[in-house]
Symmetry: D2
Subunit: 358 residues, 4 copies
């Protein structure tokens, strides 16, 4: 099916279109005023209409499009940019093939997030495009995690790192956090974070009535990314005891970080002020008033991160809180934000809609 590109639009491909992040990219890109989605690339459902795989697109122009197989050369002829929503490992060679042909790639996998190759290999195994390792990464604009994109076609942070690093960054970079012991981060994710692949841990009947920890205690692959970013902010090694949970909801991710302040007179209000200063130019970050912890439901469907701070009057510790929609600010929305910055559009273009509440 041929489609008419919007005038002045960037032609893009979505690679990995049939997963949940792909679905979210298509939902948002389909309405983006400066994007023309030229090609939908899939793996398992090539030749089907997109609406077969993604039923919510039924009856939309994108829904009528056909899922195509990956062909780097053909893509390079047709598009200026590509969003890659592939699993880690599979992503790196795909990204490399496109970049080699001059396509600007926004990668949503973990393959280009880490800056230390040994760390990557320890957590993920061999890298799929070692000659390009370290490209991108998380060197965000002005060093701020709330800012989009960063360098060229760089990586973007994972869902857990986004919700965790955003509230901690302003504290850590100011030296307000005691670092001699690990920072405890207890995080909670909706089940869509586990992706579309069938697995017992996402089977409705075994998930819907309970909450469970998983990859407890430093076993989750997002741990090194969180430590990398916080260490960069601190200028010193930061260790994190990262403990994720699966929550019986589709979307939403909450990170709760428990920090001992270096000065126990530190108030929640001071943390709020610091974060507001740091994120003043970040349209996707909302810093809440002190002692108003966020609910993930506020962010549902929106490219918005809610950041909050609460002080425990009894222990003097600070709780730093981050809430996002894992599929939007934690994945698709964040990538589009990076795209906007890279192509010179307003950072929030096409991403303004607040969450659907309730």
């Amino acid at each position: 099916m041929s489609t008419q590109a919007k005038p002045g639009a960037v032609r893009v491909a979505v690679v990995g279109a049939t997963g949940y992040t792909g679905a979210e990219l298509l939902r948002l890109l389909g309405q983006h005023p400066r994007v023309h989605v030229d090609t939908l690339v899939g793996h398992s459902r090539v030749g089907e209409a997109a609406s077969e795989a993604l039923p919510s697109l039924t009856g939309t122009p994108l829904g009528a499009r056909t899922i195509e197989a990956f062909d780097a050369a053909a893509l390079a002829d047709r598009v200026d940019a590509a969003f890659c929503a592939l699993p880690h490992g599979a992503s790196a060679p795909t990204v490399a093939a496109l970049r080699d042909r001059g396509v600007t790639v926004f990668d949503l996998s973990a393959d280009f997030r880490l800056r230390d190759r040994a760390v990557y290999e320890a957590w993920y195994g061999e890298h799929g495009a070692p000659e390009r390792f370290g490209e991108g990464g998380l060197r965000a604009r002005r060093g701020l995690p709330g800012a989009a994109g960063g360098r060229g076609s760089g990586g973007r942070p994972g869902c857990y790192p986004t919700a965790t690093v955003l509230p901690l960054w302003p504290l850590v970079r100011r030296g307000w956090v005691t670092l001699d012991r690990p920072i405890v981060v207890d995080a909670k994710s909706g089940v869509s974070g586990a992706g579309r692949k069938l697995r017992a841990s996402a089977h409705f009947s075994e998930v819907a009535n309970g909450i469970r920890p998983y990859a407890t205690a430093g076993r989750h692959r997002h741990t090194p990314e969180i430590e990398q970013e916080l260490s960069a902010a601190a200028g010193a090694p930061v260790r994190v005891l990262f403990s994720p949970h699966l929550v019986p909801m589709v979307r939403g991710l909450l990170a709760m970080a428990y920090v001992e302040p270096t000065d126990d007179r530190l108030t929640a209000e001071a943390c709020v002020a610091a974060a507001r200063e740091d994120y003043a130019g970040s349209p996707a970050v909302v810093v809440l008033d002190a002692d108003r912890p966020p609910d993930t439901q506020w962010a549902q469907g929106a490219n918005r991160a809610f950041v909050g701070y609460t002080k425990d009057p009894r222990t003097g510790w600070i709780v730093a809180e981050g809430a996002i929609d894992n599929l939007v600010k934690g994945a698709a929305g964040q990538a589009i934000q990076g795209f906007n910055v890279r192509f010179g559009f307003p950072e929030a273009l096409g991403l303004e809609l607040p969450g659907a509440w309730p």
Copy 2:
């Protein structure tokens, strides 16, 4: 807080801004390219910031606005149009006061949906603005329920009638449905349809693990509206056995209508073709291929109605299916659709985003 209206925008008020439908109106109107939301009117939370009542608006321009008390004269000075999201009964006098002062009102209550005052009084009691009874109503453009708005400041269909009438209309108006017995409509709604008022039947623990019928068997107030519209389509009285259920989900509404065809050779494909003909110009109605019944999750957050048809090969009956998001196509989105038509904008303006899936 003063805000700058967009150039060329219609200035509107949202009356009843702090309920769920109000929240949805603000979510959508805040991004509508031709709307400036001038005033947020509430009842119980006057003086609070909108984000106190509607936390998903925190950090948005609308969230910073103050909820104001209703003042018809002041509103008439400031706005061209108003959306009224009030309970039935309370709505009629409010609508009347605004219309008396020249404001174009889009009413989301049941107060102006019925055309027979005796029927209204039998189901709802005394009407709050009897001199204006019958204004508006559902005389939709070209007689089609999928079309928006209709006459001037008319009413809009309720959530159950929308999902029920859309799939039945093409069949009934063609005389394809046996009418000597009632049409059984078994409908299922998410809990947000019960509104924001606290009540045991929306208390999480008593709702989350079960499905229940309520107002079973012709006791639901949407029954006469469904019959009114179908009777108009049929040119003869249509009776409906309407049976709603409460489903443990926030949004979504599914209507299943079981019809005996007048000619048992009627196919699902013929029904699909008829509906596609009728809804060809209706951007918010998606007619599915035969035998592909819709899932309400496809419509989540979107101003879209999915219409489907299945034939039971054993009995020869047709199942007519309608699925919507009750808060969007069943309420806020539909009202904005009517606004677009009334003010000469493209019918789907500001309503293009497909559902957030999953």
Copy 3:
């Protein structure tokens, strides 16, 4: 692991122990005062501790037991009775092998529910033990569906048929229902009804926020069983338009049947009285007062069926309602009820606990 049988207990095996119905059988049989669970037979997890497959059994005596492979001869040496919780098709030869060796089998599959082999083959394909076809079936004690078990080691009704037939039976057998047109049955099931096998239609993220019809319009395999039982009650062919839905909850099944009475003076109260008469001796059937439709949450975890009747004053039709926990009264509990009757125990022995509410 050797275990000490309770004195006077019947030694039983659970075949298909690692599915959801198996889990429920073990939960209930483990506490049954006259049952000793001797053997747990599985297919895919042989050699594992039961608690590996069924985590809720961790720390219980049954949880420590090892899942064994099926061996009919060995079982026949060790047990008096077996519960077979296998998929249809796989069940028949297993049941046959055990019965051939003198084991009393309580089969939870569909393989022995139908009495007409051509009907079985039309819906399920070839039967796995044709020489035993028709054994068991649903010839319930005194012809009542609420009564347990029936003949010898017969089949037991499926989950949908249980919830559907229970409320209709008293009306149909009294000739109170017009039968010239199909009875519309709109049924709703929790996701556990789809079993433990991974499939997209039970993947949390695609199910949790919506309701969907499936196998719409006479395509569900429980249709012939419902018709078989109702036809037997009526003494005449009864056709059913059966329309099941998937509801975002783990357990629970609601059947709503819409019937035109042969005499429009029929009241809901008369239906209630008839059902109370029929089910007077049935401890697992609760007939509700008129116009109090049941919520499936009331039955959660309990071997109880709630039966209700509502009259639509506008059309004169009766809505007959049945609500159960699909895994208990719809499967495991019902089978144990049959076991109790067969072995001369009180029908409700080990099944007395009401539902966990909320």
Copy 4:
């Protein structure tokens, strides 16, 4: 309605029968072989049948009973023991009135859990029966939190303290936990923990799609109870940074405690061994193998606590995990356990059923 007491049964009253804990008490006590439930006392629904308030009891003997007003003298004539499931504050005078008349009371409120009256008053305000303050409390048998009941008619631990103290107790009492900084406890509860009273924070639509912290950072009233019990175990003051969350599920409570070991060679296996030693005689406590964190769904409906330990290999910290059903082991079941001990019955009598999974 007169009822026949079981021979040899203890006659009991349930005071506060119409709340969620009352419902759970009735579910379990109704089947307890040594209990006769004589009287159901309520506040708001006096004169109604119990099944009106608690629909799952419809059709059971208890469901047919009438809710009575509280009358201490009349109760003392009729019952040996009472379970009080009242809100804190209201409970103390009720408990006192019954104890003054010789009734053995099992109190489920917080009124008799704390041993320091100043602490009680700081968190709850004035005590309702100060002359009896300190009676009961948590002096559990042999000092073990997994053991039931303790002294006479003492209090029982709250839901959060149960899940938190059980896994920490064996570590803290052995001096294995560094105590110079607060122990971070991040806990998650199902919504039933908020009770039956209508409130926005339990309104389905505002809760079902998100997770939220509440009473963050030492503001939750269970904090002092947790510290009291752990300090008693440690023989030194233990501070806790307690951070509860509301999870979109009805039942279930998970506590995750992050502890720095005094010796970083401490293994998860050693923690498991210690807990198994401590809880060897506690039928309601299941200590899981190392690195197998519990899911609250495993405990659904059961009087069982799952305790687990995981070691973070990177930081050397231990994660101590506790999962319960807040309404059973966290409330009703625990009280019945205490009753069993007090009246000389086996501790698990009437509480043997494992969780309903899935």
